[in-house]
Symmetry: C2
Subunit: 368 residues, 2 copies
Amino acid sequence: MLDFQITRTDSGSAARTGQLTTTHGVIDTPVFMPVGTQATVKAMTPGMLAEVGADIILSNTYHLYLRPGADLVEKAGGLHSFMNWPRSILTDSGGFQVFSLKGLRKISDEGVVFHSHIDGSRHFLTPEIVMDIEQKLGADIAMCFDECAPFPCSYEEAAQAVERTTLWATRCRESHHRADQALFGIVQGNVFEDLREKSAAEIVALDFPGYAIGGLSVGEPKQDMYRILDLTNNLLPQDKPRYLMGVGAPEDLLEGVKRGVDMFDCVLPTRIARHGTAFSHCGKVVVRNAGYAEDFTPLDPDCDCQVCKSYSRAYLRHLVKSEEILAHILLSYHNIYFLIKLMQDIRKAIADNTFAQFYNNFYENYRI
Amino acid sequence: MLDFQITRTDSGSAARTGQLTTTHGVIDTPVFMPVGTQATVKAMTPGMLAEVGADIILSNTYHLYLRPGADLVEKAGGLHSFMNWPRSILTDSGGFQVFSLKGLRKISDEGVVFHSHIDGSRHFLTPEIVMDIEQKLGADIAMCFDECAPFPCSYEEAAQAVERTTLWATRCRESHHRADQALFGIVQGNVFEDLREKSAAEIVALDFPGYAIGGLSVGEPKQDMYRILDLTNNLLPQDKPRYLMGVGAPEDLLEGVKRGVDMFDCVLPTRIARHGTAFSHCGKVVVRNAGYAEDFTPLDPDCDCQVCKSYSRAYLRHLVKSEEILAHILLSYHNIYFLIKLMQDIRKAIADNTFAQFYNNFYENYRI
């Protein structure tokens, strides 16, 4: 099941708020989904995720398929039960990961042969097999198996990926049967506008309950991403959720929302946390910097998360320099909170019809 | 300040329960103190520590002196404030760590010259300097700077360590002035009974509010440890807390309590957690074992901690094999809970006058 209701629309942009209802709960959109690649959001307990207000997380089919395997997760009662996460989950299709395995994979219309990054073992994924895996994992939202062309790539490569993505989306739709799980289509086309138009038309014709914009944030200039988002906004049905895959920088969330995006996911908050970097309302804070050695102020004075309420930059720097696990925990907690709170603030601004003002204020303070 | 009241004594052994009151709270004894070496108990937030029932933790003077430095911790308002831990803290003296730096140190009656394990820099610690550091750190309980002879060592080496420990204890006592911090003496003497008697007599004559038994659990056979504990029980005043340093295996906690010990600390629960091993009522569980791959039962069916209530062995094994930080978090949580709960159960058994029965039951289930 999946229900999506738009609650407010911004008068000056494509931004809108909505409510997405899945088998496991109601999600206010626009929403940021933390990534739990291997059935865990790195350095976070499910309790912490609930505390920072995560309503939905993403998990990676490619990783779970390889380890511990979809059959084991199914035996555990599905991903929610396996990882002790009672709220909503979305699984990607593994396409992006498989196509990122340079030199390790071989693609045909039938599917993809690739070698595991863990032990080199040989695997074959088809749209039908991926649907079987995602249905066993049992997330609330599953994604179609798609071909994501790299950036840069030729027009011909991008065109072939679009064709194959449509072919596979048709087969995914046919082999997906789980009533408690929604299947989203994915639009490809790289930075080529006519390919985006073709892909969107073909995928939308298959009538999915939601649509993802794939193949962005893969290395292209930001202006290309924004241009394609502007275009895609007009190609996707207004009444269905739109999901921009792999995007999580604060400014990109804001730019995405402005262009009509409802859902985002990214490893960025937890990845930069493990490298000792934190988001703040003024831009990124590199906690290791010597300048913070005796700085007893919070990470971000404008943040009201438990980390900012309880710990100083000096202590966090000590943890980072001492390579303590608690550094990963606390910075991941703050960074995920930061993005979730940003989305809350964005939703409030849209509801209050002050989104344009919010947008301008954001850039006044934030150094990219 | 420090107050210690014995509340119950076991009729069949030296075991007793008590209440230890520090500047930061009341601690039921016998107590296990988790170790927060670098001002953090590895992979645990202060909130988790409170949740598992930790009333007091230990932190290491040697590590904090080197990084971030005692002056910085003092500027932060002391260790409690720096690390956001409102309950009691004990700091060791750094003696054990410095004497473990084989080849990197030079000892005289004046003090110890050593080289930092972090950057090789040269440092000089004396009893006076250590007292200055511990008072700046501001724990509720500080330990005297002592010389811990290695095991095995000659009688002459052990005798010299005892002499120096008494000399340094006298100087520590003279240079310790913080009224809100209690200073404990440490008894040395290795496995030599007459040296233990001499050390205990000299240290007790200095009249400390509590006494530690040092130089055990350093590699000697368990029978030697138990023999020395039996002896020391009769050498230390009954009305003062006794602290067995560096001991944390479940069976050693039980054997220590039986011999009149009130306080314990050890890195064991968090260290074995990071290697994927968990305590259970049946003995250690090596979570990585293939036999647990599809085991959807809790880590320890007899444990009621949040980890055992919420996660399966199969999931924990997946986390361990995937080298996820959450494995460290959840296993550390469970292992610390396990030891704290064991001490709760021991206290209850002493109070109910069923300690002998508890002791026998423990060994019926537990494989060492």
